[in-house]
Amino acid sequence: MTVVATTPRFKGNVHDALTDARLQGALVHASNFAGRRALAAARLPEFEALRDSARAIKDHTLAHLDLYLEAYERKVVETGGHVHWAEDAEAARRIIVDLCKRRGAKTVTKGKSMISEEIGLNAALEAAGMAAVETDLGEYIIQLRGETPSHIIAPAIHVTKEDVEREFRKAHLDRPADRDLSQPEQLLAEARAELRAKFMAADVGVTGANFLVAETGTSIIVTNEGNGDLTQILPRVHIVIASIEKIVPTLEDAAQLLRVLARSATGQDASVYTTLSTGPRREGDKDGPSEYHVVILDNGRSAMLGGEFEDMLRCIRCGACMNHCPVYQAVGGHAYGWVYPGPMGAVLTPSLIGVAEGGQLPNASTFCGRCEAVCPVRIPLPKMMRHWREREFERALSPAAQRYGLRFWAFFAKRPTLYRFATGLFTRALHWAGRKKGRFASLPLAGGWTDYRDLAAPERATFQSQWRAKSGAVN
């Protein structure tokens, strides 16, 4: 683990997020994604078939991952690039810092990369005396704020434009103090000018990769700003950092995945810039990097293969699951406490940093199933969150009160007659107690619920007894 995870304090984080009025105001913007995705999906009749195709490609690749990685490596070397293998975050940091140091780098520009966040690369570069500059606008904003991304494709979704103005005034001291920065256009123009100078000064550019293509030894990045491209074509050295599951066999396979990626992420038919990079500058080229390096990171993923969390390795990091998650929409990404938030983070985080640290996250689900319904590669996220809950329970990591509560409930659940009698009694009692207002603003032992919303008073009878009355039988 590299970035200090606050995941073990998840419940406290959630409380802080729910009572943070500024954050709650900013999170309104996160709700726009779902509608845009729905429109994009509806515009393409083949969308559902493409999701099946995308899933099949990922499953095929994972089943042959060792061989595709070898084939990919051969092509990178053949085209004049270098491949470095990193078993964990520490190794990846060391490889990249060494590459930068040996070339006397002072400024390292960075395209947006979740793997870079996962390994804590910026801190390592800074510790080695180099300036690491995030160039994606959202990443730049949160770097100035000293934060981590709160969303995997919209890292500054928790920030208001007033927050951005304040950071820019603090950071860009050469500019007139009385300048107008009240509009997003002005903020963007200032960031563009500041970062243009950094792009031109950079010695090394580090990008992530959405896909690595085994057929051609190509890395693919997808951006809307063009920052990833300026990061990789201007400096003398381009370093790609990517995890092992980013491999796809062919260009055709990449096209299948790209068709579902942009639509699932931002609701665009295609992102503005999809760039395929293969090796360093070639004879006659007037621009482009002289050196091309790829750092392939494992960091716990090879152990996920063949196990109950293998499906998670299909993830293409589109963010659709968090864009459709009622829990994420309510608390934002930082509450999850590590690099990956939302449903994908709730499944991936315990896999990568351990169930003891990340085991609370799979509880942050209402099991509404929207994440699985929109996942472009059909990852059964709710099922895997249930697996984690079982493991947390088996290992006695969940709080004692919860465990006793579950045992108490299980005692009744295993005795149907007693269960029906007890729940019937309880429901009638609640109905009677709440008959005036129809809801409860507070209830003993239910503060975790009623602190943030009212509990509706139940109908006179349980669902089971109503069902029986209507249809004549249960079981």
Binding site: L195, D253, Q268, V272, Y273, T274, T278, D287
Partner: protein, 222 residues
């Protein structure tokens, strides 16, 4: 054990394989050789006129502007018109592309600069390798003829696309790519560009011209 072998060994242990199984190797080699196409959307299909119409509609949807002209010889006049009407400076940078060099730039008042961009260019023109009707996307390849920096550093990017180079889908563009570079090979940089640069990172407000061009003008010729 070196980290490469350790990672591959872990993968093989998890998968329950040795890496030497002939059927697995055969399956991987076959897929890499055959590159099966998968699901290809119907949207981009059709004859040249249909493809150009779809390309244009999709590109405009992505906030690019599009002009159609009769021949490559008319490109300089169209570029000059576009820059004048957009109140842009009368300068233009381009690479060594022979098709661009053959155009009558002398008939315009444009100041022409050659080579890669140093970040101070307002306008640049490049020849597209292909246009993809399905999403209104340009495919541009790196090289001295059309340096990649021209696609990103100038404020206004102008791209010339020959009508005959408008293909239906990405798969058709890859087929052309293999025709030029050979199967299994790719240019150093292949840019798929759909509209001008943008960002929605500040309160999800969509703004054009984030780091790349603020405007993208596509000239379809022929």
């Amino acid at each position: 054990m070196n980290p490469r072998d350790a990672i591959l060994q872990n993968l093989r242990r998890s998968l329950g394989v040795t890496g030497g199984e002939a059927p697995r190797r055969f399956e991987v080699e076959r897929r890499l050789a055959e590159a099966p196409p998968g699901i290809v959307p119907a949207r981009g299909q059709g004859d040249v006129a249909t493809r150009v119409a779809t390309f244009r509609a999709e590109a405009e949807r992505a906030q690019a502007s599009v002009a159609e002209i009769a021949s490559l010889a008319d490109v300089p006049a169209e570029v000059a018109r576009y820059l004048r009407e957009s109140n842009c400076a009368a300068t233009l940078r381009m690479g060594d592309d022979a098709r661009l060099a053959a155009m009558p730039w002398g008939d315009t008042a444009l100041e022409i600069l050659f080579g890669a961009s140093d970040g101070h260019d307002l306008n640049a023109v490049a020849m597209a390798f292909a246009g993809i009707a399905e999403t209104g996307t340009l495919a541009l390849v790196s090289g001295a003829d059309n340096p990649t920096t021209l696609n990103f550093l100038p404020d206004n990017a102008i791209v010339v696309l020959r009508r005959e180079d408008v293909v239906a889908d990405y798969e058709a563009a890859f087929a052309r790519l293999r025709g030029r570079y050979g199967k299994g090979n790719a240019p150093r940089t292949l840019n798929f560009v759909t509209g001008p640069s943008r960002s929605a990172d500040i309160e999800q407000t969509l703004l054009l011209g984030a780091h790349g061009p603020r405007r993208l003008h596509i000239v379809i010729a022929g």
